[in-house]
């Protein structure tokens, strides 16, 4: 069976490309006005259009959490988020967490506790942790582990990640 006739949707439609859509997105406090194709994910906007490569592309299917960013204060996976749908949104990435050169308490805690090995999942882990603390639903180590389960670490730094979050949580007293 030739690929073009296989009954699975492999055949690409040769329609003319839809128009690019104007989108306004504020990232780490800076407003950007872009014209993007509707299939562009927020992850690709951050990395390819805005050159903010701190946010990582891991699985690109919402299974690993490496692309976690905050949109309007809530953690989401940017790989499954179409940027056109987030017109007008405020996005915070790992690049936007430090203030005046001082690391965010979660970033400092990850360093203090050696909460990473290769570091690839770390920006997602840190953004997710910042949101977890703001949500205020986790207090025990069990609850932290459960509510961080969307962030996979293939190096297996989980023990130190939990310790880092506990330190940050204590130093921030539950405040974002």
């Amino acid at each position: 069976m030739s690929p073009s006739s296989f009954p699975g949707g492999l055949e690409r439609k040769s329609t003319s490309r839809p128009a690019e859509i104007p989108v306004r997105i504020t990232v780490n406090g800076q407003e950007h006005r872009l014209a993007i194709a509707p299939w562009t994910t927020l992850l690709d906007v951050l990395r390819d259009h805005l050159d903010l490569t701190g946010t990582k592309k891991g699985c690109d299917h919402g299974q690993c959490g490496a692309c976690t960013v905050l949109v309007d204060g809530r953690r989401i996976v940017s790989c499954l988020t179409l940027a056109v749908i987030k017109d007008g949104a405020e996005v915070t990435t790992v690049e936007g967490l430090a203030t005046n050169g001082v690391l965010h308490p979660v970033q400092q805690a990850f360093i203090d506790h050696d909460a990473f090995q290769c570091g690839y999942c770390t920006p997602g882990q840190i953004c997710s942790s910042v949101a977890l603390i703001a949500e205020g639903k986790a207090t025990t180590a069990d609850e932290i582990r459960e509510l961080m389960s969307g962030n996979i670490c293939r190096c297996g730094a989980y023990t130190n990640i939990v310790a880092a979050i506990q330190q940050a949580m204590a130093s921030m007293d539950g405040k974002p």
Partner: protein, 338 residues
Amino acid sequence: MIDFDYARASDIPDAIRQIAADPNAKLIAGGTNLVDLMKYEVVNPTRLIDITHLPLNTIEETASGGLRIGALMPNSDLAYHPLIEKRYPLVSSAILAGASQQLRNMASTGGNLMQRTRCFYFYDIATPCNKRVPGSGCSAINGINRINAILGTSESCIATHPSDLCIALAALDATVHVAGPAGERVIAFTDFHRLPGDTPQIDTNLAPDEIIVAIELPPRGFPENYSYLKIRDRLSYAFALVSVAAAMEIERGRIRDVRIALGGVAHKPWRKVEAEAALRGEAPERKAFTRAAGILLQDAKGYTHNAFKIELARRAIERTLTQAANGTPQMQAIKKIR
């Protein structure tokens, strides 16, 4: 992903007009499943209609004492809503058993009902799948079918519905409010999803030109005696092999009313009123729970790799009913099963 056009719906009638006008269009809300399916080219809409701006993200008390949940209410907001936590903790527990906090923040209540199966072959466009391409065959029946269904299967399809929330909503007799060109109608939750039969490409009884606007919960939420137990291959962030939603009312040592719904075992949330009838009036004890489990599973059929689910489901049903009867619901953060 295949190129597509993008449009925003300005209000509910506009969304209905747009979806009715284009059979190749899809509505998009959270997008957690649809965007993934589009990346794999399993679903290839030529147009996405963005409904995220519609005013459907509220929870309101109904005149009858229930709750009406807007279809765009994010899963996380629903799980943590004070009225849900207090009156329908089974709903909270089921939501928090599924996905990750990031996905729950994105996913909508209506979208949760509309998510597609996670059958490996449905996702793999290099293989036949009757749900993806009607008439092409089912690769799971004689393939890797550990995660597939044991109840209500057909020769065309042995896929399961992946939702946790839907299992709780089925147990609680929720209703689905949908709107289409002819106006609004109400669908009983257990009638919303379909069994595969010989048309497994159709997951639900929602018409192609209809949109879910709300889910309604009836007044009784069983807040005292309930449990949602989910058994899976890892302890968090995985789909169910078997899950059980149980809710009970106990009066003077006897079961006055009970609900049991199963997830991970069928093409839709699995309820059997005969099993519930067999428990009414009985003492909430293991012997009765075993009998109810037998009724729920009496037509179960295992395939090459999933026959273990039949015994697993029997034990999970007994355990979940015991947890509900004892008022010790399964906690989703603490993995110990009591």
